[in-house]
Assembly symmetry: D2
Homo-oligomer: 405 residues x 4
């Protein structure tokens, strides 16, 4: 370990510092100018490109506070990604926003192999998003009385949800007891919204009803006890569903593996086995290669809550050599938090990118999820091909930045 | 479970489909136009905003392939975030690119509480990034002969690294044996680059030397056996370092907790305890609230490899009520993959955003990491405050999108 | 790393070696003698104490093969352990078979503190034991057809179970899909038997029915796909139930903490907090101290399947300082695989030990589980007390073996 | 969920109850009689077999308190288990104490297949056992000053260890910082003892020296912060070593797989792949079948700390079909806590069982560990064979108890 700490200087908190950054949730040229002036004065830097955008500011309401400008993320396209699912059915073009060289090229190669093989089967298996309040009682006796009351009232909760949201439906409640802590996981169907705010507001309404009516009051309660898996990879969500659970598969002929992926099915199978041992050794949740790469780029381009990559980039990848020399491959993603309405989906480029995938607006979230899983499968095939055949380094040397060595 | 599959239609792979998307790693208006025409023909959609950018295309070389345009991400600013570290020392303004309402407001509130408390101590404890090739042998006998040879040659690997990269230094090698599989984790210091490509290229050079010289050849080897924790949360990386390991702490007076965070130290302590039980129940790696939110927004704004949020958003948050009524809080992030050179750091808005934090270019990556950890601490305080005091739902109703219920 | 391998000698497999150990599932003095003679001839050692037992050999049928004799395990008693539960209600004496000095003393001290505090509330929350066959199909299409058929037949499975076992009841079925792999987790109530064999036999009957009747056959199927958590700690079982799920709590006055446990509630609280951070850092499943110690000793004494400690010794321990200076403590064990009939419960000393706890035979497994959880709580309190107050080392010096330093 | 709680009765703590069980760490017929009388009076039960033992009571000192008698565990033998290792080299007979029918038969079958194949290569790769004290400071500044001091004193700790124990050697120290918590993991070599008490006493001596001498005192410190993985499966220990790390491998010809294991290499390979997906889905640490079965039975028979099965039964099993139709199989166990001196190794039957393996006393712990890993490999092969070929249910019906359905 290195020396830890250089001596910290004494400092004062000046009142003007403490309150100076002009906070505002209003979005206007005036506010931007005010913020810019302040920042330039403080940092001696200017932000001409960040602030130079002709975006319609009124579209940004509810998406951001202290708005200063627009970050520009390079965006490429791959495809067609041929998908056969329950909602996705066709050849899709997928926008990927990233600054990592070789990423778009790699996913495109995977998509091309799958296209030549006739397309990916991709199926949304389940939907559900949770909010998990926790109630703390004096002791187990009180907790058990509360539960008895709750179980009797359970059916009436549906009405509360109905009166709170047009879209949300309460689909399941799960109870966890840990001493005098009671966690109730409320699971919802939230139509085509990713739904995190919706389930917060509905669960809040349920909890307020419960606290108001219950005969035994908890000593404390919190709307989320940090067990729902929000913004983090968890074994619990991995074993259940969070957002949408999708599985996708393909069979690639020996010829496609050789001609498009430049490796062999046997080498792919060998690499998969070996790397599965590696990922087990690393103590990951699930076993996959690089779901995060494709999902992050797709989420940025299409107005998703990108931080949900933390949970979405979890799952299982499997590859198998078939006796006829072909390769079977599949991915399973149980935590795809995605939406085609709400969040950032209505922002200008985000909407165009959703449109490119034929996924903008209501009725499209399952289709989006099935395409996302197919994308992920294409990416797993391409990276495994590169690693199995020793092309990985060269691909990064070819497409990546040359100056950084 | 719902019905799984609607019958998939029979389909043909038309040759023109299969090769039609005009792939190119060249970035030019000609290529963009070609791609756009193709996409419009195929999807019947247009992308006027996505493609309408006056970005200097030559800057994008090595960052993207099949480039079509620029995704626009709303960006807000928080601060000043006062940080005392080994490299960070001062009041910083932090750009956050997101479309999630309430996020910027929440981090700003946390930063303000910390500012009034005199600032966050944030210390980079360790650095290191790994590439972990795997070698498969006939049996343990061969493997042990290989290791004996390797251990004798270990010192000469430093020269190979030196001849491959100006920046990279080999700092550690760890051996894992699992039957006839040998994994060697090479750990590097990569200066101010996040370094993933650098360590790939250096490790490739090492491996080629090893394969060429070793007396007992492995039957297979792969440059990465998927044990390095690349693009995923792993228990292994959580217990070691991947990128930079930073810990940050603050002590907030009872007055600040009450006046800025609108709760009490006792409630914060209570919430932390309860939610730590929750996150343990969920089977997370580590125990934290929402590191992913702040890190993702920061990474998008500042040209980081955003997919690394998968691993970076891991760590431990702790809060404690002190006997004088103040609140101690700390975060520890062992897997901060960040850089201030290379990757997307040189892109136009990304560079401005790094400049805003005084973090653009060489010599700034430790400072950047210490600011990032301080940001995360501000965010943990703010969300825990909201959840402890029942403000969480209201905050999202106030700042979030109104139309989605 | 040390030198790995000394050269292995060449060797021959002599036919007499290969078949020489006289295997037998018959238990008789003749077989014992035959085995002993063989072993003495081969090893030049004698086993007079191991083989000198007047146990009724006929009792051992179905419990062991290649029987040679009786291992003698020292057994101590703690108590009374006062328990208030749904089935346990009274003061119990608990036998612990171990050779680890200080273990019995430590659990006894914890039990004494709990007794003085009025006893432990211990509640069995859920029961269920699983067998999880896996079915592999050509592709997702076939798999989905199989599931459709299965869901329609689901109700008829209860009859199969009824016809296979007098005791087992099928209580739940859960489906997991991973590409073309379908896992069905069948969960059973198995009365007072731990039930692992019962659920194997019932699930085998179900599977044979399914394979016989289903319109789409899987290409392979296995009665257990290693997902049921049998003989291992898993995040899945930790979040569900395996065997019995029990939670137990106590409130200890400041006086008891001080006089019996020789520490203070504040120190206990402090130790719990700190050690919970430690166990999170270690990447455990759940968060507890040493459940394995008490459970193993109890399981050995009472004829349980001791290997199930691997899964049973998982859960969450929590301790909290109350405002009145008392200490709240609880444990939650979701994977208590225990039985009071079958297995080794009928063996001579095992039966006496079950009798000591008033837990021998039918109708006692919930009581047993509630006592087991209370035992575990007593042990967590005692070790945390020792560690919080710096007595841990001394306790081991006092009670442990003196010669080993 | 079922009704949770029947009303608990009011109760009094009678003084005589609270102190009545006559606690004693002295082992004598007098104490046994006293305890028996008390228990019989309280429970109305008698324990004639438990208490009827002619064991030399003086041998039990330091192994047990409140001793009442001897638990009798049926013990079978398997073998010869042919092992080629660094210390084990020969054909061993392995005692297994269990009451689970079919267990001994299954391990014996696996051993027989391995014997016919020429024996198992089993190699102890590393040794080390940890004690991990935690030090809590006011803040990071104090913590960093403490570390600076510690790093300068590090070398002098070896002398403290030398003066505390004849056997222990300090081999490594690892530092973990989490906010103001500092954990130092001291790793030792403890010769042929499993060493948990030894490392406690040595670390206690180190800590007392540190607390006495350090210029900045911690506000609290604890000899174990629950991060060492003692008595629990942890990702940390799985990735490092705890006790002994051993890997073992075998290659079985197609003929042996078919004739002894009654299955085929292809089916074994298929089962391994499929079940590895299953165990990943279950969220286990590592990926194995039933290490706990063999290890528990071996540990009980040979005087080990059986509760360490919680950590020892962790690792990775791998099986692969070779192109010549043979099967490669290996196991890796990083957390084998075993000893051949100290603990229960000197007890009468335990010593005979160690003798049977030629493992009693000094100089034998590595041999023991290599045999244990070989045993585990035999067990993994046998259960995978049974499951792959559909024999699993029948084996349990044949050898298991018939009455329990």
């Amino acid at each position: 370990m290195k020396t830890l700490l250089k001596k910290t200087e004494a400092y004062d908190v000046h009142t003007e510092d403490a309150c100076a950054l002009p906070f505002s949730s209003e979005i206007s040229q005036t506010e931007i100018a005010k913020l810019c002036d302040y920042l330039t004065k403080k940092t001696n830097k200017q932000f001409p490109i960040l602030t130079d955008s002709n975006i319609n500011l009124s579209l940004l309401n509810g998406n951001i506070e202290n708005f200063i400008g627009i970050s520009q993320i390079p965006t490429g396209v791959i495809g067609p990604l041929k998908v056969h699912g329950t909602a996705a059915n066709g050849a899709y073009y997928v926008p990927l926003a990233t600054s990592e060289g070789a990423l778009v090229a790699s996913y495109h190669r995977g998509a091309r192999a799958c296209l030549l093989a006739g397309g990916i089967t991709s199926i949304c298996l389940k939907e559900g998003i949770q909010r998990s309040p926790v109630f703390k009682f004096e002791n187990l006796n009180d907790l058990s009385l509360f539960i008895s009351w709750f179980l009797a009232k359970k059916e009436s909760l549906h009405d509360i949800v109905k009166n709170t949201s047009r879209f949300a439906k309460l689909t399941d409640t799960k109870i966890q007891i840990e001493g005098n802590h009671l966690t109730i996981s409320f699971e919802y169907f939230t139509a085509d919204a990713s739904g995190q705010n919706m389930v917060t507001i509905c669960t809040d309404a349920i909890c307020r009803f419960m606290i108001d009516q219950c005969p035994v009051k908890p000593s404390h309660w919190f709307i989320e006890g940090n067990s729902s898996g929000d913004k983090k990879a968890t074994a619990y969500s991995f074993n259940n569903v969070r957002g949408k659970k999708v599985t996708a598969e393909i069979e690639l002929s020996a010829k496609i593996v050789s001609e498009v992926l430049k490796t062999s099915s046997a080498l792919m199978d060998r690499y998969w086995r070996t790397s599965t041992m590696g990922v087990i050794q690393s103590g990951a949740i699930g076993a996959q290669g690089h779901y995060a790469n494709g999902l992050t780029a797709l989420f940025i381009a299409t107005g998703q809550d990108v931080a949900c990559v933390a949970e979405a980039a979890t799952g299982i990848t499997r590859m198998e050599l078939n006796s006829n020399g072909s390769l079977y491959a599949c991915v399973t993603l149980p935590n795809l938090i995605v939406g085609t309405v709400g969040g950032g989906t209505n922002l200008p480029t985000q909407r165009e990118c959703l449109d490119m995938m034929d996924c903008y607006g209501e009725g499209n979230s399952i289709k989006y999820a099935e395409i996302a899983a197919a994308l992920v499968l294409a990416g797993e095939l391409s990276i495994a091909a590169a690693l199995s055949a020793g092309q990985f380094t060269q691909a990064h040397q070819k497409f990546g930045r040359k100056k950084s060595l």
